[in-house]
Amino acid sequence: MKGEKKRLYLLEIFGLILALIWLSPFYLMIVNAFKTNREIFQDVLGLPSEATMENFVQAYHDLQFLGALFNSTLITTISIAVIIFFSAMAGYALSRNKSKLSNVILLVFVAAMLIPFQAVMITLTSLFGSVNMLNMGGLIFMYLGFGSSLAIFLYHGAMQGIPRSMDEAAIIDGANKFQTFWYIIFPLLKPISVTVAILNVIWIWNDFLLPSLVLSSSEATIPLQMFSFFGEYTRQWHLALAGLTIAIIPVIIFYMIAQKQIIDGVSEGAVK
């Protein structure tokens, strides 16, 4: 028993060292964001000789961070709301209507998940360009198209656990189809809605290629701003690193707040 304890102790130390190694890229990014470019070349590992906020101020300004944060938040929130609402409705309809057609439709959605984005991006941007929809609204609509598959799949699975008697009781009380869905079924699907929200927030918030094809610079999101900012400051690591640090702050805050839901949500989505 004593040997067992000692082994666990050693394992704990090993794990903590590994965790520190895992975090080291963030450490290196943050400490060097406080240095001058010259100091980075002289001593990249140590703490800054004097901490200055200058890099952050300039990076914040050049990134047009507040605008980008606003665009990212707006696009992500609306897209997720739209995906959740319409996919839950579709998942509900497909699971309650047991027909061959329902199965075929579900299969089409699932199959669509296998199509890599590159296979459709060229004609997609050309199609949306031809009707002047290469903008934020068009992008949100595209996220609905790409995001609904997984969401419908998850909702459809969750519906199996909700008995039909729930629907019937609501219908007897005089509710129509939509009311039944909105007041009775949708609240019961909340755990899956959280999972769908989390899986999509990670994807949409960080997406680069699609917004880069669709958005104009006035609508740029954080990844888009980061890309042009970084191109401007190649070899000026002090500014580039300060910009990177600022860019990941919202994500870290989100992770700290919703840590448990995030890990649970991802494992929920991964296993299905």
Binding site: L11, F14, G15, L16, L18, A19, W22, L23, L28, N32, V44, L45, F86, M89, A90, Y92, A93, I105, V108, L114, I115, P116, F117, Q118, A119, V120, M121, I122, T123, L124, S126, L127, F141, M142, F146, S148, K177, F181, I202, N206, F208, L209, L213, P223, M226, F227, F230, W237, L241, L244, A247, I248, V251, Y255, I262, I263, V266, S267, A270, V271
Partner: protein, 286 residues
């Protein structure tokens, strides 16, 4: 009855509309355009298989395809070993298990583009500094050769995705009944034997899931490629996804880029289908 049908279609209409305009129509018209001289706006002639034949002699495309295959092969192995290792570590009764899970998963939340920039700094600046400090020649000039670019991408991707694969393995590890572990202990199995005969067979389905995920993800990687190496030096670390974007949008060869995209799609689909097939076959055996 009619009323029921109407509600059914109304509930499905928004997602069907979005899926058609965003995925189905672009895919089908993409297949069509790949046989024409389409320039993004219109086309004048059918060129048949010209674009597809041209692919076979496109050295840059073929080398990007080969690079991607090698990358996917190595990444799948590294990610699964690492993911399973981390999962085994954090499911032991350690005081800091939750902290470790949080840390190992963290890179997943940050976009590949940003992570690529962070690692660009590490490979270029930190590695050369460390190299001088430790007198290790091999740490100099990272990302400036094809080999270091390749391993740079492998390291970045493994670091980013290992936490995700870890989560999948944890989910399966937690489903192993405790009695089985206890029973094997009673029978005098050591840790290795227990892993080999009890744990490993029971997490095998997790391997199928995560192999599918890692394979298809590493095939489609773009952001990390763009921000870490940007394909350099001399396009030698350019992967297929990046090659397609380059062909279509930087050199404005829409139809040719689309033909590449169709081949890419077929590649990814074959991987997916053979995975499913493999999966099913094993299920029968079990």
């Amino acid at each position: 009855m009619r009323n029921r049908d109407f509600a059914f279609w109304m509930f499905l209409a928004p997602v069907l509309f979005a899926l058609s305009l965003v995925v189905i129509i672009p895919l089908l018209s993409g297949v069509f355009y790949s046989f024409t001289d389409w320039n993004g706006l219109g086309f004048s002639t059918f060129v048949g298989l010209d674009h597809y034949l041209r692919l076979l002699n496109d050295g840059r495309f073929l080398s990007s395809l080969w690079f991607t295959i090698q990358f996917a092969f190595v990444t799948v192995i590294v990610l699964n070993l690492l993911g399973l290792g981390l999962a085994l570590l954090v499911t032991r009764k350690l005081k800091s298990s939750n902290f470790m899970r949080t840390v190992f998963f963290m890179p997943n939340l940050i976009g590949g583009l940003i992570l690529g920039f962070i690692w660009q700094f590490i490979f270029i600046s930190v590695f050369s500094d460390l190299g001088q400090l430790l007198g290790v020649e091999a740490l100099n000039g990272w990302l400036s050769t094809t080999t270091t670019g390749f391993w740079g991408l492998v390291i970045l991707t493994s670091w980013q995705l290992a936490g995700y694969i870890m989560i999948i393995y944890i989910a399966y590890l937690q489903n192993i009944p405790n009695e089985l572990i206890e029973a094997s202990k009673m029978d005098g199995a050591n840790a290795f034997q227990r892993f080999k005969s009890v744990t490993f067979p029971l997490v095998a389905p997790a391997f199928t899931v995560s192999m599918f995920l890692t394979l298809s993800t590493s095939f489609k990687i773009y952001d990390q490629n763009l921000s870490l190496t940007n394909g350099g030096p001399f396009n030698s670390t350019e992967m297929v996804a990046m090659n397609i974007v380059y062909t279509a949008f930087s050199s404005n060869q829409m139809a040719y880029g689309q033909a590449k995209a169709i081949i890419f799609f077929i590649f990814v689909a074959i991987i997916a289908v053979s995975q499913v097939y493999y999966n099913k076959k094993r299920e029968v055996e079990m």
